[in-house]
């Protein structure tokens, strides 16, 4: 019941990573919702990519129409790699850090789940920056501030994740 209440669907789990991160991180340690954090993060990053790169995707579509299939694929992959790079680096680096610093209490699969939850603010900040740009209130400074906030927020969550990992029961 507690698990159901904490994370019934991806929207709630992503929201929990933003608004109730301690509960979200604790949820990743439980058997039932465990392992969903990577797919939740992937959904967020891909939905964010589709929403924020519609213009680029349309351009790639035109290239395909004009018979430049390779160019279209190049354009799509280039944009996708730009969108995925930061969260991926964060998850790999963060997951490795938590695993290494958790000592004997490490549980690599769960540690990378925790890093995925910690990466949600970073992915959300990318969407926020694009929303601000569409609203006409974006500036380079504001953009950098939003990204810095996302990174700082993610870093704090990684520290909470590390603390949580170090509190696990040590293996016999």
């Amino acid at each position: 019941m507690a698990e159901r209440a904490l994370a019934p669907n991806a929207v709630d789990r992503l929201g929990a990573a933003l608004a109730a991160p301690v509960a979200a991180l604790e949820g990743a340690e439980r058997p039932s919702p465990s392992g969903r954090a990577p797919s939740d993060l992937a959904v967020l990053v891909l939905a964010g990519f589709a929403a924020t790169h519609l213009v680029g995707i349309t351009r790639a579509g035109w290239m395909l129409v004009d018979g430049d299939g390779t160019g279209a694929i190049d354009a799509l992959l280039s944009q996708l790699s730009d969108a995925v790079r930061a969260p991926l680096v964060f998850v790999l680096g963060g997951g490795l850090l938590v695993t290494l610093l958790a000592g004997k209490r490490r549980a690599p699969a769960t540690d990378f789940d925790l890093a995925c939850i910690a990466a949600v603010p970073l992915a959300a900040s990318a969407v926020l920056v694009q929303l601000l740009a569409r609203l006409g209130v974006a500036s380079t400074g504001l953009e950098r501030a939003a990204v810095a906030l996302g990174c700082a927020w993610g870093a704090v969550l990684l520290l909470v994740a590390l603390r949580q990992a170090r509190r696990r029961e040590a293996p016999p």
Partner: protein, 187 residues
């Protein structure tokens, strides 16, 4: 329970943000979908204006526009300082333009934007002296459908695209550009 409520609100706020961005872009695309089509040979080149990187490597307050070059054949070279293949194509483009001995212009568009302008100037001075060097933050490259660099566009005197070249092998690039310049000059 309060935690659950907070999480749900935050989650739906995130969904709303994503949906809002998508709707705004869909409306913009719906208004001018054709305008997003990268220029093809035979079509009018998209006009743009970009700041010139001066002889000291500073991004100056002087701008160069494609419109201002109307009446001259223009070779637009999209490149970046980190791109090694671009360094191989630059001398080929420069010599193809120089060999014509007419009013053809090599417009060197550095897609690193305002950063690394000194490095861009040094490379152009070394590899394509005489090129008009401008800085692009990526907007113009996006308009021209630049997904890989080097990306070369040849524009004729009337402002129409003669050639879009993304991946011609180096050994045949000179011939391709010279032929395109021939057509661009004739029109």
């Amino acid at each position: 329970m309060i935690t659950m409520h907070r999480a749900r609100v935050a989650g739906w706020a995130l969904v709303l943000a994503i949906a809002s961005v998508m709707v705004v872009d869909l409306v913009a695309i719906g208004r001018d979908c054709d305008g997003l089509r990268p220029p093809r040979p035979g079509q009018e080149a998209i006009d743009f204006a970009l700041p010139i990187i001066d002889a000291r490597g500073e991004v100056s307050e002087n701008w160069a526009s494609l419109e201002s070059l109307r009446g001259k054949p223009v070779v637009i070279d999209f490149w970046a300082t980190w791109c090694h293949p671009c360094r191989q194509t630059m001398p080929i483009l420069a010599s193809a333009v120089a060999r014509r001995r007419d009013d053809a212009v090599l417009l060197s568009v550095c897609t690193d934007g305002n950063e690394r302008s000194r490095e861009a100037r040094r490379l152009v001075d070394e590899l394509a002296p005489g090129a008009l060097l401008v800085a692009d933050e990526g907007d113009v490259a996006d308009q021209y459908g630049v997904s890989t660099i080097p990306h070369v566009v040849v524009v004729d005197r009337a402002g129409r695209v003669v050639l879009v070249d993304r991946r011609t092998a180096l050994d045949s690039l000179r011939g391709t550009i010279e032929q395109a310049l021939e057509r661009a000059s004739a029109k």
